[in-house]
Each structure stands twice: as structure tokens, then as C-alpha cells.
């Protein structure tokens, strides 16, 4: 029976604390094993500021790290390195470290809200300012990669969905009014230049915008990439995306004054024009409005601008805000307002279970606040 000497490492005091165990998810396991097999960089990094909880980012996903204590001790044991082999018996193995905790990983939503907060003062609305701007701190794309706790792919995706431009290496969110104006220009140009929206020449469109409307090419190309795909110098427009943005443009004016649903739809269809009118649908504006019955008027449905992106990120605070706005919700009404803080529908259901009380009524299941006080 083979017998091995188990010894302390030759420098156990120095090595203590230099090992960590991380429990991997199946996809990370595959990622690392493939990287080992191909001798490639797995592109993993741990990101976070000293006051934030650490996250592990691959190139595409973000995982939260939680430390779990063990009541047992785990010894990390390896063979003896060649240079020290003489000090140990032939078949000795050494204890490198004794661990009492393991780090667990759980997929999390990328923490992009910090990005919005950091750049919200630098909105871009088409005015060309001077280059030397009184020494203000510019937040660059590189800064975003360093400071935001999200993977690279998620950061890029986040910049697109949050409509952030990269101008002169600085990240700047586009002013909503300017974006709506740009989209209208684009739609008009598509008609006047009789271009097919499934295959638009990027050069032609951006030249027209630059020459006639003083929109820089950098801006127009980025906006095109948000609303469709650019491939081989051709832009294929994402109709739903553009139509949604047009609808949002109208809805944004009704943050405090609700607009009748029918009025909104009519104005929206008019803006979209004949070609895109069929795509107009209230479902596109999900998570951006609250619908109520106007009891004062004629009983019609009215809508108010209520974007999920402005709600708090922390679940408890978000539910508190949602229930302050409306005390009882149907499942399909409240779910869109949770999709940006829950990784998948299972997580979303867990949040509902944790923070809401379920009321089963004649209209089906509805959700109401759990705590009666504002905790």
C-alpha cells in the first residue's frame, strides 16, 4: 500500500494565506478547462473598489463573490517542488495552506448604475463645445472598464442600452430630446433618399446628416449601431428599437401629466409614419409607464412616464418605491420593473416571493407590500 509523508511546507508561515478556493459554476469550469487545454488566457479578473463587494468577471459575465465559512479545515496539499526535494522523503507531499473558507460565485446583474451616475452631467445634445474644457474630469471608456463592476461585453452592451456616446474618448449620454430629433431626421432621410431600411448605406446616411444637419459622423454611426446592425458598411435598422424610442420621446413629456392611451398611440403612429406604423405597440414601452384608469374623465386608460431605469437598484428600495406608487400590482405589470435587477425569471420570482405578499383574488394573483411600515 503506498504511503506518503504528509508534511508542513518548507515555508508554511510565508505561504499561509496565499491560497484561496473558489467554487465554480459549470460554465466557468468549462471556460477554465478549455483555457487550460488550449493554453490561453481565460480572461478572468476580480473587479471592485475597496468599498464595494468584489465581483469576478469573465469576458461576458459577472459573478458576485461570497465568502462561506467552513467548520472543517481544508488543507491544500501539493508535491514538493524540485528545488526542495532533498529536504523531504521520496514520496512526500506538503501542506501549503489551511483554509476555513470558500468563495462561492453567483451570477449577478452587471453593476452599471454607477456608470449612469458618473456621467449624467455630461449629456451630449449636438452642440460642439471647445476642446479645452476647464479641466473637468472626463470619464473615458478605459475608466469604465477599470471602475465598473461588469464584464467587457456587458459594459459595451450597457453603453448601447443606456444610449451613451463615446466622443473624443469621453463617455457622454445622449440627451433624450436630441436622440428623438435625430431619429426623426433619420426616418425622414430614409424616405427622401429612398433608402431601404433593411440595408442603408452608412456612408450616404451619415454624409447627409453631417452636411445638411451638422450631426458629426461619429455620433450618427454610434446611433445607428444602437438601433440595428452595421455590417459591411450597411446598416440594417432595428425597427422595434427605433419605434420604441419614438414612443418614449412622446411619453417622456408625460411624467406628471398623464396622457390618454389612445392619444399616445395616435401621436406615435403619426410619428412612425406609414412604413413603421404596424410596429407601434404598447408592449414596446414596457417598464416605462404606469397605466391607470382615469376616474375623473371618461374612464379611459391613461399613461404616465415611469421608467424602471430611474428606480433604485437595491431590491428592497425598489419594491418600496413601486408600492408607494401603487399599492397593489398584477404579476405582468410588476415583472417588467424587475427585469433589470434580476438575472433571470427564476431570480425575479425569488424577489417577488421575498419582498411581496401575494393576494389571490378573482382577477388572479396580485402582489402587495409585505411590511406595513417603510423600513
Amino acid at each position: 500500500m503506498p504511503e506518503y509523508d504528509l508534511c508542513f511546507s518548507f515555508s508554511s508561515t510565508n505561504e499561509a494565506g496565499s491560497y484561496k478556493i473558489i467554487e465554480l459554476t459549470p460554465d466557468l469550469t468549462t471556460l477554465i478547462e478549455t483555457a487550460i487545454a488550449k493554453d490561453e488566457d481565460p480572461r478572468l479578473s476580480i473587479k471592485g473598489q475597496p468599498d464595494e463587494d468584489a465581483v469576478l468577471c469573465s469576458s461576458t459575465k459577472t459573478y458576485g463573490m461570497r465568502s462561506v465559512g467552513l467548520s472543517n479545515t481544508v488543507l491544500v496539499v501539493t508535491p514538493v517542488p524540485d528545488e526542495r526535494a532533498s529536504e523531504f522523503a521520496e514520496d512526500a507531499v506538503i501542506i501549503r495552506d489551511q483554509l476555513n473558507e470558500i468563495i462561492e460565485l453567483a451570477p449577478v446583474v452587471p453593476k452599471l448604475h454607477k456608470l449612469s451616475a458618473l456621467i449624467k452631467n455630461r449629456e451630449y445634445d449636438g452642440d460642439n463645445e471647445d476642446e479645452d474644457d476647464d479641466g473637468m474630469d472626463r470619464f473615458t471608456y478605459h475608466d469604465a472598464k477599470q471602475e465598473i463592476q461588469a464584464s467587457d461585453v456587458e459594459i459595451d452592451q450597457g453603453l448601447k442600452t443606456r444610449r451613451v456616446l463615446i466622443i473624443n474618448n469621453e463617455l457622454r449620454p445622449i440627451a433624450p430630446a436630441f436622440l428623438a430629433h435625430l431619429l426623426e431626421l433619420i426616418l425622414n432621410l430614409l424616405v427622401s433618399l429612398s433608402m431601404n431600411y433593411t440595408s442603408v448605406s452608412v456612408e450616404a446616411l451619415s454624409s447627409a446628416l453631417a452636411d445638411d444637419h451638422e450631426v458629426s459622423r461619429a455620433v450618427s454611426t454610434q446611433v445607428m449601431s444602437w438601433f440595428g446592425e452595421i455590417k459591411d458598411a450597411k446598416w440594417k435598422m432595428d425597427v422595434d428599437g427605433v419605434v420604441k424610442e419614438l414612443g418614449l420621446g412622446i411619453l417622456r413629456k408625460h411624467r406628471h401629466d398623464p396622457i390618454a392611451k389612445d392619444d399616445l398611440l395616435a401621436a406615435w403612429k403619426k410619428l412612425a409614419g406609414d412604413t413603421f406604423e404596424p410596429s407601434v405597440s404598447l408592449k414596446l414601452l414596457e417598464a416605462n409607464y404606469i397605466e391607470t384608469i382615469d376616474t375623473m374623465g371618461n374612464g379611459a386608460s391613461v399613461l404616465r412616464y415611469f421608467p424602471a431605469s430611474e428606480l433604485p437598484v437595491d431590491p428592497a428600495a425598489r419594491f418600496s418605491d413601486l408600492f408607494l406608487t401603487r399599492s397593489i400590482w398584477r404579476g405582468e405589470e410588476i415583472s417588467p420593473f424587475l427585469s433589470d435587477i434580476a438575472v433571470n425569471s427564476k431570480e425575479r420570482d425569488k424577489l417577488l416571493l421575498k419582498y411581496c405578499r401575494t393576494v389571490t383574488g378573482p382577477e388572479g394573483i396580485r402582489y402587495t407590500a409585505r411590511a406595513q411600515y417603510n423600513g
Binding site: 500500500m1 503506498p2 506518503y4 509523508d5 504528509l6 508534511c7 508542513f8 511546507s9 518548507f10 515555508s11 508554511s12 510565508n14 494565506g17 496565499s18 491560497y19 484561496k20 478556493i21 467554487e23 465554480l24 459549470p26 466557468l28 469550469t29 477554465i32 478547462e33 493554453d39 488566457d41 481565460p42 480572461r43 478572468l44 479578473s45 476580480i46 473587479k47 473598489q49 475597496p50 468599498d51 468584489a54 469576478l56 461570497r66 465568502s67 462561506v68 465559512g69 467552513l70 467548520s71 472543517n72 479545515t73 481544508v74 488543507l75 491544500v76 496539499v77 501539493t78 508535491p79 517542488p81 524540485d82 529536504e87 514520496d91 507531499v93 501542506i95 489551511q98 473558507e101 477599470q146
Partner: protein, 203 residues
């Protein structure tokens, strides 16, 4: 702040000595995890005294695949257990051995253990054996070249700033730009969960 997590390159891995034959087939050919209930307590005046000292004899019965560990007069019987999820073993690379990393988060209490003595080694984690100095940062540029997430500017700039902060990630991870290397992935462990049996050695 970004701390890169890299792999050891294949050439260095191939050069590393492998575990003895009985253990190599467990799951990883360079690392084995041994789980004990309780911890190893050593009676020492100076913590470095235990360096290189024998702890016990680990036997692997090939027929039944049962491991046993003989420590002094105690025989521990164990078994090979598959881990519910594979573990990645990370080892600090570069930087100094200052205080151990502690990741914030909730801790969960697991099952009770039979012996609950703590090894004196735990105390040592707080004592740096080598003081962090500027040269560590320079030597890390080689590591930084291999890892993609950190660029050289970041290493030099962050050097002194972050040393004072209470870091959620290890101190060595911040200032000197140290990273972590994945030493390997382990899918099985040896766990000794039965009470030790006293044995008397026959002369």
C-alpha cells in the same frame, strides 16, 4: 481596481512535479484537497519551527480506494468525496505576503465538528514576513504582461494609494498589483470525517 486571475502557462505547469501515483488519479495531478474536522494544532514557541516537519503518514488503499492518515497515535479513516461543484484553487502570484485576503460576504455555519482547536498558523497570517517594497511592483510587470486585465500604468499608479484602504480584496492584491493564478481545478477531495482511532505501534 482590477485584479487579474490568470493561468500558469503550460510550460511551467509541465515542469511542476506531480503528485505520487496513488494520489495523482484523484482529480488534479498537482493538487489534492484534504478536509479535516477541526484543524491541525501544533505546539510551538516559534511558528517557523513547523516548516518542513512531518505531520503524519497518508496511505491510500488501492483496493478499496480508502485513504487513511496516521498522525502520531491517531489513525483517521476517510473517503474520497466528489465535490458538488468543482473548486478552482487560486494562489497569490507576485506581491508580498502581507495580511490574508478577506472577501466580504455572509458566512454560513455548516455541520458541527469533533475537534475545534485552531492552528497557531492562523495568527501568523497577520504578520508580514517581508515588508512590501517598491521592487515588488517592478518585478510584477512581467506578470502584468501576461494578464490582460491590468495594464502597466495601473500597476504603478495604484501602488501606494491603495495600501492604506481597508480592502475587500486582499491587501497584496491592490498596491503591488499582484494577481492570482489558477493553480488548478479540483473535483474531488479526501475527507476524514470519522473520529480518530488510537493505535499502538508495535516495535
Amino acid at each position: 481596481m482590477i485584479i487579474p486571475v490568470t493561468l500558469a502557462s503550460a510550460s511551467t505547469t509541465a515542469a511542476n512535479p506531480k503528485l505520487p501515483p496513488g494520489l495523482v488519479k484523484l482529480s488534479n495531478d498537482e493538487i489534492v484537497l484534504i478536509e479535516l474536522q477541526g484543524a491541525l494544532e501544533v505546539d510551538l514557541s516559534d511558528p517557523t519551527e513547523r516548516n518542513g516537519k512531518l505531520v503524519g503518514k497518508l496511505k491510500m488503499d488501492e483496493a478499496t480506494n480508502k485513504p487513511t492518515l496516521l498522525i502520531g497515535h491517531h489513525l483517521l479513516e476517510g473517503k474520497i468525496a466528489a465535490l458538488p461543484k468543482p473548486y478552482a484553487i487560486l494562489v497569490r502570484s507576485g506581491g508580498s505576503s502581507s495580511s490574508s485576503a478577506s472577501v466580504r460576504g455572509t458566512t454560513t455555519a455548516a455541520n458541527t465538528s469533533s475537534t475545534t482547536s485552531t492552528a497557531p498558523g492562523n495568527g501568523d497570517r497577520r504578520m508580514p514576513k517581508r515588508t512590501p517594497d517598491q521592487t515588488d511592483a517592478e518585478s510584477l510587470d512581467d506578470d502584468a504582461d501576461e494578464s490582460m486585465a491590468v495594464d502597466d500604468d495601473n500597476n504603478d499608479n495604484d501602488d501606494n494609494d491603495n495600501n492604506d484602504h481597508a480592502v475587500s480584496l486582499g491587501n497584496a492584491g491592490s498596491g503591488s498589483g499582484a494577481g492570482w493564478k489558477i493553480a488548478g481545478i479540483v473535483k474531488k477531495k479526501i475527507i476524514f470525517s470519522k473520529r480518530p482511532m488510537p493505535v499502538i505501534k508495535r516495535k
